[in-house]
């Protein structure tokens, strides 16, 4: 039945017309290219220059790393003959040393076991949606360090011969240093953050002085200080294992940075949370443990992960106090004269960069994902 508006019309279309595709220049590949690559003369010039540069630089680089590389060789002779390709044979040959340092071959299963258990616990603790993540965290922060120390260092009398820390080296020293750093610095950092926000003036002053002092000096000087001065502060006759001072320095250093991160979380908490907890009659420690920290720490997980990335990169500096971390092991491997050649250094650094990049980029992706999850939770 015709409506009044169309009553006098000569022609009324009853079926809708065919749906036309959008114009070529507003959707699809061509439009995207126009908008994102050639939107202005300057943009055109940039695109062309970058494409030209990529064509000039990338294929040789990829060929260097793959087709022209030497993949297996008994010694450096073949690599010296192929100077336009990477020498992966060198990495393959040194891989065990890069992973374990001089750790005795028969005992290397212990390193593997610690790494597997550690990876499993980290996955349990950090994977959102896994049941009882809290238990995973407790295991990781309390039981795992003891387990790792017993297995790596060895215990007399139970069939685990002691392996002197002089023999430790490679990837697992890097991982262990970072692990000790985070395991000891997190509780210390939380205490420092609470101290800095405490109402007790002496506690607050001590926390502020410690945090600002450590954050004001370079990590290397902290390592130097731990190495040169810690033995002086101990009673005469006490000689700590040579791994202890740098590990203490690492833990204290990252504790100061973690404290500031945690303080951010504490400050972001609504005042009502404190007031509510106090109204329920909770004392300071119970309020902190049950109400404040669970919320504050969850909020700063991305920040803590970022600090951990920095810590993991900073573990390379422990080489200054004669610890053989992954990068120092690589440096030692360079000194092998049977492999000497112009391609050894670039290959080694390329491989090391790849190693650190995979770890750090993975962690930063995790941190970003957690941030997005939290943003979704807030919006909903």
């Amino acid at each position: 039945m015709p409506t009044p508006a169309t009553a006098g019309a000569a022609y009324v279309r009853r079926a809708s017309g065919p749906i036309l595709p959008p114009p070529l220049l507003s959707r699809g590949a061509i439009a995207w290219t126009r908008a994102n690559l050639f939107s202005s003369p300057l943009s055109c010039a940039i695109t062309l220059a970058l494409v030209a540069f990529g064509l000039w630089a990338l294929p040789p680089l990829i060929a260097w790393a793959t087709t022209r590389a030497v993949w297996s060789a008994p010694d450096g002779a073949l690599c010296r003959a192929h100077q336009d390709g990477a020498c992966w044979a060198f990495i393959a040959h040194k891989l065990d040393y890069l992973r374990y340092g001089s750790y005795p071959i028969a005992e290397r299963w212990r390193v593997n076991a610690v790494e597997i258990v550690g990876a499993a616990l980290i996955g349990w603790m950090l994977w959102p949606g896994v049941p009882r993540r809290g238990l995973g965290a407790v295991l990781f922060f309390v039981s795992f360090p003891i387990f790792a120390f017993a297995l790596l260092h060895g215990v007399e009398g139970v069939g685990l011969p002691v392996v002197d820390t002089l023999l430790w080296g490679g990837v697992f020293v890097s991982l262990a240093t970072a692990l000790v750093g985070i395991v000891f610095s997190l509780p210390l950092g939380v205490l420092l953050a609470l101290g800095r926000r405490s109402g007790l003036p002496i506690v607050r002053a001590m926390s502020v002085v410690f945090i600002e002092f450590v954050r004001g000096v370079p990590f290397i000087t902290v390592l130097y200080m731990a190495n040169n001065m810690l033995p002086l502060f101990l009673p005469p006759g006490w000689v700590p294992d040579r791994f202890i001072p740098p590990l203490v320095g690492t833990a204290l250093f990252s504790a100061a940075y973690l404290a500031e991160e945690v303080r951010g979380g504490l400050q972001s908490l609504d005042k009502g949370q404190y007031e509510g907890a106090m109204a329920l009659g909770l004392g300071y420690w119970r309020m902190t443990r049950l109400v404040v920290l669970p919320q504050a720490l969850t909020r700063v997980i991305p920040g803590i992960v970022n600090i951990f990335i920095g810590l993991f990169k900073d573990t390379t500096l422990v080489a200054i106090v004669a610890m053989v971390d992954f990068l120092a092991a690589m440096d030692n491997a360079f000194k092998d004269t049977t492999w000497g050649g112009p391609t050894i250094l670039p290959t080694g650094y390329f491989f090391a960069a790849l190693f650190y990049f995979v770890f750090c980029y993975g962690m930063s992706r995790y941190s970003a994902a957690m941030e997005r999850r939290r943003a979704v939770g807030r919006a909903g």
Partner: protein, 391 residues
Amino acid sequence: MAAQQPSRSSLANDPRVRGIFYQVLLAAALVALVAMGWRNVVANMQARGIPMGFGFWDETAGFNINQSLIDYSALSTYGRAFWVGLLNTLLVGAIGIALATPLGFAVGVARLSPNWILSKVALVYVELMRNTPLLLQLAFWYNAVLKTLPGPRQSLSLGGVVLLNNRGLFLPRPLFGAGSLVVVAALALALLGALAFRWWARRRQALSGERAPVALVALLLVVGLPTLAYFAAGEPIGFSFARPSGFNLSGGLQLYPEFAALTFGLVTYTAGFIAEIVRAGVLSVPKGQSEAAMALGLHRSQTMKLVVVPQALRLIVPPLTSQYLNIVKNSSLAVFIGYPDLVLIFAGTVLNQTHAAVQVMAITMAVYLAISLSVSFALNWFNARDALKGR
């Protein structure tokens, strides 16, 4: 009142009393720990024959330093060596900051570019720099790049002006003859004149709305006046270029490979972090601000300059300052590649020669702490001046 409710006012339950009690306990524990540590330090130092005071400061150092901004030789004192190291640290810090800022801003702006390839290239750069250790980058630049360059006879040359070889980077060295002061004075005068013109132009625009070509006039003044003075004074400033002589190069300004690698590594590394700070700062300005500015008829460049950047700076400056401090602190990685900075010379060589670990470490850390704290105070002052005024 206390007499009426004796059970509730027990001193042990008063939070104030408890607070004081715990603090006294903590302070006592700290004092005891420090006293015990100090006793151990004294006993240990005496047992090992380590000097207690700062007497070593005036003793002869006996080692050479290849790069020094002040007169120094092996006959100089440890105190002199300290100043050499400190100045070298500050030199790398200042040059690093001066170069990392523009590079970081450029990469940060490139990340926001509408050009897809450019923003992705900047992204790759940022992720590469941020996710690999600085030490690895420095070792790469120093050992794998600079050390493998050809020798002085086969230098890589940029028009014969800038030479690069395994002895370092050679730049032209300016030579100031008699009358150079006139040129410098002309430059200072031109800068003052440009500032005065800008001030006058702004005042006039505020009063009458008429605009003056500030940029053009300033450029003419700053370039023209010194050039005129240069020729009027009889071309007093010349350049000495590096030229091959024997097996080395002579003349020019030589930047040692250690210095070049450290500065280059620090700049490229820190620029990755600055780029992210700049990006976050610009993105934090609400889109409505730039839309409103364009609706008012401002160009894109004016929108950026007058509306977006001033607001973004408020967010950029604090983390940027901490990156500047990071450059200074990270310059201590010089130790690994042998650049004679404060840590290598003082906390390294001097400490090893004098064994005065406590004194040397205390001085070294005090220096870094003083730098950090003074920058923090300056930043707080800047923030207070620039903070969002309450509405």
